[in-house]
Each structure stands twice: as C-alpha cells, then as structure tokens.
Amino acid sequence: MSTPGVAPEPLFRLCGITKTYGQGEARFQALRGIDLEIPRGQFVAVMGPSGSGKSTLMNILGCLDTPTTGEYIFDGEHVERFNSIQRSLLRRHHHGFIFQGFNLLARTSALENVELPLLYRGMPRKERDALAAEALAAVGLEGKFRNTPAELSGGQQQRVAIARAIVTNPLVLFADEPTGNLDTQTSEDVMALITRLNTERGITVLMVTHETDIAAHAQRIVRVKDGLIDADSLPPGGA
C-alpha cells in the first residue's frame, strides 16, 4: 500500500492499538492490536460483524476514548496520552461526528443545532448564523432552519447532523452507521452527500457500516473481526 520514495505523513497512524474493557473476570479485550494508516482525503469504510470492535475503534480514532496500549498519531501528534481536555479541543477543531441515532438536541431548531460546534469555538453570532445557514443549505435544508428535530423526517434529521459535523470544516468526518436508521432511498441521498464532501472538499471520511452497497461508496474497506484487522482492500474501481 505504501508508495515508494518519500511517503507523506498519513493523517492517522495506529500501531498496536489495544483496548481492554473491565477488570478481572469481566475483562474483555475489544481491540487486540490494530495497525492502520489512513492518508488525508481518503474515504474509508469500516465493516465487520457485530461486536467485532468497530465502534470501539471509531471512538479511539475520534478521540472520544483512549487506547489501553499502542501508539496513535493523528496529524503528526501523539494523541494516545492526551488528557480529556486536549481530546475535547482536538475534536472541537478537527473532527466532525455523525452518529447512528442522529443525536440532535431536542426542542432545538436545526440552525441552533448546527451552530453548536461554532458556539464552542467562541464564534460571534453573526458568523455562526451565516456558517450554519450555509452548511444547512449544503445538505439541502434551506427551508428548514427553524424546525426542531421532532418536525423533521429521519433523513432530514441525519442531514442536520451532517451539517453540524461539517460546519466547522473539519479534517475528518466520523460516521458510525450514518444510514443505519434510514430507508434505502434516503440512505443513497445521504451517501451521495458524504461522497460529495469527500471529493469536493477533500474531507477524510471514516465510516462504519454493515451494508456492502453503502460501503461501496468508499475508496477503501477495512474489515474488522474479533478486535483485529481481518482484511483491508480497495473496492474494485476505487481510487
């Protein structure tokens, strides 16, 4: 996979990452030594059976969680020993998250949901509103700024979540089963949107999915099994 000559520093580099939950009898090793490099701008799908450790891996990559052992270098920085504040700041400035369950703030308008990450960046209101409106427009929700999640369809809610994830123009977009709750047509729309963000804005995308046709949008598929990387392939015709 590595190109000969001066290989550019990958955005992600994992060396021997393990994650152990619990203690004593209840000890469970969810990740048992992951080595992985992901260059900038790649669209990677993570697949694997239930309980294989996909979410655990994503949480570590997304700095929501820390590995038990191993090295994790993100954008040239050793982040495996970052404390929670450093991890929060990293997430704030470089990461965007899309969750399976949308995870929008209830009783909060689409616009307010989308501008939330900007609020934590301390951006003044006018800029915040403008960027949030722009992001909502980018996901095709021009007319729905004032709607609360309860007043939006599932696909629209996920698009608000995508707008919230990209409004900060992140380096990486993490998506844990972004289409898990959506019907086929809506899934296709959402995937088209994510693919466009990857190709047009060069955002690196890490996506967990169970479905092969969803994974087919990615340039690369990483298969996880029992806490180890089982297969790492470029789909036919990929980049």
Binding site: N59, L64, D65, S84, I85, S88, L89, R91, R92, H93, H95, F97, F99, N103, L104, L105, A106, R107, T108, E112, L116, P117, L119, Y120, R121, G122, R164
Partner: protein, 403 residues
C-alpha cells in the same frame, strides 16, 4: 465562555418555561417571604420607635391601682396635692401634671361630637409632647380661676369646624360653654390605635368643678411626670414610688396601690419584642428559601439525568467538561436569580399591602432586598454545583449511549 454559558442557559430556560417556573417557585416564595416579613416587621418596629419619640422625654405616668389593666375600683384616687408633693419632694423631677380624663359630648352650632376631654395643667403640654398649632395653650391663671377655655385636637376641629378658624369660637362641652383658645398640632394614632387628635384639653380645675359631676373636686385620674435630663428612668420610678407610698400612708407590709410606669421603657420593651419577632419570622422565611434551593438542586439533578444524551452530544462535538459545568451552573444561578427577582417584586406588593392593612409604615429597605436576592443567587451556586459537576464528569461515550 461565561457569555456562552449564559446564552445556553437562557435557551434552555426558554425551552422549558413551565419547568423553570416550577423550579424557582420555592425561591420566589422564600425570597418574597423573607423580604415581606423583615420589611413589615421593620415597619412595626419603626412605628413603635416613632411612638416612643412622640411620647416626649422621660414621660412617667403614675396611676392608682396596682398594675395597668387591673380594676381600679375601691382604690383611692389621687389628689391635687399629690402632684404638688411629688414635684416638691423628688428633686429629679422636671415637671408634673395632674391629668383627669372624661368622655364628653361637645356641640358647636348644629354639629355634635363625642370625644374625650383631658383636664390638666399647662405643664402637660411639654410633658406629653403636645404642641399648639394655632392660638395658645391655657396658662396657670386659667387653671387657678377654673376658666372655661380649651384647646382642641385636629380631629375635633375637622368634625366641628371644617375649614372655619375655631380660635375664639364658643363650644358647648356637656352643659358648659367653653371658648376655644388653641388648636393642637396633629399627632396621629397611638401604638394602640387611638386617635390622639380626637380630644380636647382644658384646665383641670374647670373639669373638676364643671364637668366631673358629683365626684370630689380634688380628684385626679393620673399624674404625668417628666424627669430631668439625663436622669435614669429606673431611679426616677423608684423615687416616685417611695414618695407615693408615704403620701398614701402605706405600711411596710402593704403592697403598692398605685403603679408607676416609665412609658419609654415600655415602648422600648415593645420595640425590642417586635424586633425579636421580626428576626424570628425572617429566620423561618429563610428556611423556606433554603428549601427552595433544595428544590432547585432536585430539578437540576433530574435535568442532568434527563439530558445525559444532550451532554454526551455536547462533549462529543468538542465542549470542554468545564464548559458543561458552567452551562449547568449558570443555568441554576440564572434560574435562582430570576426567582429572586420575581420574589423581590412580589415582596414589594405584599409588604406594601400588609403594611397598609396592619397600619404600620412601609419603608422600602434596599439592603434586605439585596441580601435576599444575593442569597437566592448564592443558593443557585451552592445547589447548582453538584448537578453541574455531575454533568461535567460524564463520559461522552457513556452519555451518548444513554437512552
């Protein structure tokens, strides 16, 4: 960051107005109760204090009968000579006025009015702190000759004369014709609710001879005494008591058949009682404020649990734990401060209403308002902190997984 936290807190409150209102209800009631109790209590104390001042300096009243309120039947009344003897023999006395009260009906032209008449000597005016608004007071000559002249209180003037100048007019007091020579300055109600302006004052001799009917001409109802400046009230009371016992020929084993009361001491006791009552009521109200604070904590804790997922989202998209802490803390403080503010406004209405209903002055006291408001805000900090810290300590992954 604080501004952000305030913005988020206000959004949350606006989103849940009903819950916010119920949350702060305890604080509202607590603050309103504390301020109202203290303000009204303060007003009552002020009323008593004003009463003390209006009594005049060192007014001591000597009455027949063992104690105030005890039946005076069968007890020998005072004589004019008792008053004179007191003035003679107790050197600490500044002046003495014998006083006799009666109820009379007075008539002027078509109007008539029932009021109380005070028969006394000119010394009464300074002792009882009564001033003349127009005309003059009667003098010793009027007393000696028992002239039918009187000074009238403002209520009597209003009832009988309206806008007319009463000085020089002739009244009929029961069956006696009497000339008005002066009008008393207004004094208002006494602490017992009596209208002190509903009275007329005339020479005691006139009252004894012409209005007292068959009762002895020498009889005196009570003796008003004022002490010299700087004389201790207790000393004066004791000295007067000793002389009175001699004047009334009491043997060593007999108890007093008269009472000497220092009105200032009574008033002071009364005002200190009022003050104690005020602090007690204030303290009880303070407890209710504390209970209100616990209410806030309760709701905030529930709210943290309810909003676990929301907190997870905030943490996942890059909120710092301390920003979450601030959000919840500011929310609690904003709530309790709003509650405090509503409480202050409510207290303003309640204490104004109660003050006028209870007939005590309403003095807006900024400091108790500030204290109660500050306490409400502090309650928000104290009881908001625990839930806020709990929220900030949540693990983002756990919180996101929370249903």
């Amino acid at each position: 960051m604080l501004l952000n936290a305030l913005l988020l807190a206000l959004r949350e409150i606006r989103r849940n107005l009903m819950r916010a209102f119920l949350t702060v209800l305890g604080i509202v009631i607590g603050v309103a109760a504390v301020i109202t109790m203290v303000t009204v209590g303060q007003g009552a104390t002020d009323a008593v204090t004003a009463q003390v001042a209006s009594l005049g300096s060192n007014l001591i009243i000597v009455r027949p009968g063992a104690a105030i309120g005890m039946p005076q039947g069968g007890v020998a009344r005072f004589k004019m000579s008792d008053a004179a003897a007191l003035a003679d023999r107790v050197t600490n006395i500044e002046s003495v006025a014998p006083v006799t009260n009666r109820s009379v009906s007075i008539v002027y032209q078509q109007k008539n009015w029932t009021t109380s008449v005070i028969g006394t000597t000119p010394e009464y005016f300074p002792i009882a702190n009564r001033e003349i608004a127009s005309g003059r007071a009667f003098n010793t000559g009027d007393v000696r000759s028992g002239r039918a002249v009187c000074t009238i209180g403002n209520t009597v003037r209003k009832e009988l004369f309206g806008n007319e100048d009463p000085v020089g007019a002739k009244l009929r007091v029961n069956t006696m014709a009497c000339e008005v020579i002066g009008v008393l300055a207004t004094k208002g109600q006494s602490s017992f609710g009596m209208d002190q302006d509903d009275t007329i004052i005339l020479p005691i001799t006139t009252l004894q001879r012409r209005l007292a009917g068959r009762q002895g001409t020498q009889q005196v109802g009570q003796i008003y005494v004022s002490g010299k400046d700087g004389v201790d009230g207790d000393v004066l009371v004791a000295e007067i008591g000793a002389v009175m016992r001699e004047l009334r020929n009491l043997a060593a084993n007999e108890s007093d058949d008269f009472s000497v009361m220092d009105t200032r001491q009574i008033a002071q006791a009364l005002s200190s009682t009022t003050r104690v009552m005020t602090s007690l009521l204030g303290a009880v109200a303070g407890v209710s404020l504390l209970v209100g604070g616990i209410g806030i904590m309760n709701i905030m804790l529930v709210s943290v649990t309810e909003r676990t997922r929301e907190i997870g989202i905030r943490l996942a998209i890059g909120a710092l734990p301390r920003e979450v802490l601030w959000q919840f803390l500011v929310e609690a403080v904003t709530l309790s401060s709003l509650g405090g503010l509503i409480g202050v406004l409510l207290a303003l209405l309640a204490s104004a209403g109660m003050a006028s209903a209870m007939n005590v002055p309403f003095n807006f006291d900024a400091s108790i308002n500030l204290i109660a408001f500050g306490f409400a805000a502090a309650v928000g900090v104290v009881f908001g902190f625990m839930p806020a810290r709990r929220a900030a300590q949540l693990d983002p992954i756990e919180a996101l997984r929370h249903e």
